[in-house]
């Protein structure tokens, strides 16, 4: 591996090598006649770098990066499943990738969105979708704004929303951006929402409803889900479903049937589109019939003959992103859904739950599992039984030494030193067995050789980094 750690900007030469611009074929005018000198820049500090240097530079960087294609990526609530290669091929078909968002001959793209909409309605039990939101949190904001609009049109002042502590991490910040204040509800000892506290919270005149993740971030299914949505509805509230954890429910049960009014999905989690190192994603929002008028403008909505393009609706929350969303991501998700079909989707749900329980049962022999229950797609361990003052972070760093990625750590906040583990359905038994072996071995090391773990990782290009220094004296560019 290349040990050259120089930044790309240090690999430039003094004369240009590359030629990525068509040959100029009209006469040049003096540029100063087109734009005043005072508006022109003097220098541009991006060096001219030969193509081979650029390719080698980034190839080397890729080799210092861990992806799903490297090995298991057990980040809880992130659903790091395999990203099928055919989807990349399809998304890059020039008839998709070169399509301009404002051009008229776009029937293939619109049909794709319509068909995707139909499938997602079937999968979730909802009646219509918008694809504008670019990510899960963006979908949350969209859904919450729809709730806000709904009550505004009824002239009701509902500016608070219930967010259980076991809900997805972005929920409180999304609620704030939509102008809601937050009512927190603690989980009970089973990791579920206490019905009495929910009723008490719904007593407030200004409560618009609840944001719920089910299965929640503890990986547990809310057994009282039907009561929960009924209570909220009885008090005149609405139920919002955060689809971050939809994967284990595929083909088994549907948020629409649980009583949810508005939901969002993460195509980059459940429907296999690549996470890309943090994005792009797509966070479509699905609604029950009566909320279709509130979907963002423009939108593709169901009608008697199927679906239609709707430019404008009076009660719409308005636009939430330019154009029609992250279309390239929609193409991949659509291809995935077609490849799987009804049976495949159910198998995804089932095997994701099988894999998670297979890990949980074996790991909780050594590690502390605060909720001793059958989990769904993920489960949470705590730092409670760790010997010799070993921390969750120490464990995570040592996992990396074994050539695999660490789980989500220190989230959810309700579990001390949480390790949140989601293997997904695409990990084989052999891969899971390896993960169990590594985790058990690390536990043994924690007992016998704690220093080894406290100083981990040892086998990486760099050792543990100073996060305090990074935040005190931020260096954000070269």
């Amino acid at each position: 591996m290349d040990s050259d750690s120089r930044l790309i900007f240090e690999k430039g030469y003094n004369h240009p090598h590359n030629n990525f611009i068509p040959k100029m074929d009209i006469e040049y005018e003096n540029i100063d006649d087109l734009i005043p000198k005072t508006l022109q820049r003097e220098d541009l500090l991006i060096p001219d770098i030969p193509e081979i240097e650029i390719v080698r530079h980034f190839l080397n960087l890729s080799q210092k990066t861990y992806g799903v294609d490297t090995g298991i990526y057990p980040l809880g609530s992130c659903t790091m499943k395999y990203n099928p290669k055919i989807n990349e091929v399809i998304a890059r078909l020039p008839d998709f990738s070169k399509l301009h968002p404002l051009q008229e001959e776009n029937l293939g793209a619109l049909e794709l969105i319509i068909e995707l909409s139909k499938i997602l309605c079937q999968v979730t039990g909802m009646d219509g979708f918008t694809f504008q939101p670019a990510a899960g949190a963006h979908g949350e904001l969209t859904g919450l704004l729809m709730i806000k609009k709904y009550f505004e049109t009824m002239n009701l002042k509902k500016n608070a929303i219930i967010v259980p502590e076991s809900s997805h991490g972005t929920n409180p910040a999304s609620a704030k951006m939509a102008g809601f204040s937050i009512i927190k509800i603690r989980s009970n000892k089973d990791g579920e929402i206490p019905i009495d506290l929910l009723k008490y919270a719904m007593e407030g005149d200004n409560v618009a409803g609840i944001m719920l993740t089910n299965p929640n971030t503890l990986g547990l299914f809310e057994r009282n889900i039907k009561d929960i949505t009924k209570i909220v509805h009885d008090y005149g509230g609405l139920c919002y479903y955060d689809g971050a954890n939809l994967n284990p429910m595929l083909g088994i049960c549907r948020p629409g049937d649980m009583g949810f009014d508005i939901i969002h999905l993460n195509l980059h989690k459940t429907f296999s589109t690549p996470h890309g190192g943090g994005g792009p994603g797509s966070g479509p929002v699905g609604v029950k019939k009566e909320f279709i008028p509130f979907l963002p403008n423009p939108c593709i909505i169901p009608n008697n003959n199927g679906f239609q393009y709707r430019e404008y609706s009076e009660n719409s929350i308005g636009r939430i992103k330019s154009f029609l969303g992250n279309f390239g991501v929609l193409v991949r998700a659509y291809a995935y859904l077609l490849a799987l079909g009804a049976q495949g989707l159910r198998r995804v749900g089932e095997i994701s739950v099988l894999n998670a329980n297979y890990l949980q049962v074996q790991l909780q022999k050594k590690y502390h599992a605060p909720y001793n229950r059958t989990c769904q797609h993920e489960f949470v361990l705590s730092d409670k039984n760790l010997p010799n003052d070993i921390t969750t972070e120490d464990i995570a760093k040592r996992i990396i030494d074994y050539g695999i990625y660490a789980p989500t750590i220190y989230f959810p906040l309700i579990v001390s030193g949480a390790m949140m583990i989601e293997p997904t359905e695409t990990e084989s038994k052999a891969s899971l067995d390896n993960f169990v072996n590594v985790m058990l071995k690390i536990y043994e090391e924690a007992r016998s050789n704690p220093e080894l773990i406290k100083n981990a990782p040892h086998n990486t290009p760099i050792k543990r980094l100073d996060a305090v220094l990074a935040a005190r004296k931020p260096i954000l560019h070269d």
């Binding site: 996060a467 305090v468 935040a471 005190r472």
Partner: protein
């Protein structure tokens, strides 16, 4: 854990301390608060000359794992800031009551000080929080 709670200072429930020097109040955050935050990386202070009511949010303390707001302990005008915190926010951790002070306030109404906690009361407060 044991946290320093100097007996000559006044305390708030939001973990600020105040030292009164005639009409001037000096404020900072307590040893317990800095410990809860862990390594402080940045303190956002108000500007000199700004006037606030008691209880207004006047700044933020950022650590690696949290950002907390702090509040105006007494109504008045900001008259001096601890300029060292800009380059050395770690002073809040190493010396919360001394070198890590935040700012000075010219106070309007000394009687506001009556409802502050004594060192003894504050000690009880943090013990309560610790036990939770």
């Amino acid at each position: 854990m044991d946290f320093k709670v100097p007996p000559d200072l006044k305390y708030t429930k939001s973990h600020e301390w105040v030292r009164l020097e005639n009409e001037i109040a000096v404020m900072g955050i307590t040893d317990y608060a800095q410990n809860q935050l862990s390594d402080v990386v940045y303190v956002e202070l108000p500007k000199i000359g700004e006037i606030f009511e008691k209880g207004s949010i006047i700044g933020e303390i950022e650590s690696v794992k949290a950002v907390d707001e702090f509040y105006m302990p007494l109504s008045g005008e900001i008259i001096e800031l601890n300029d060292y915190l800009g380059n050395r926010p770690e002073l809040v951790n190493s010396s919360p009551y001394d070198e890590g002070w935040f700012l000075k306030i010219k106070i309007n109404n000394p009687s506001e000080l009556d409802i502050f906690l004594t060192a003894f009361q504050y000690q009880e407060l943090i013990q309560g929080e610790e036990n939770q």
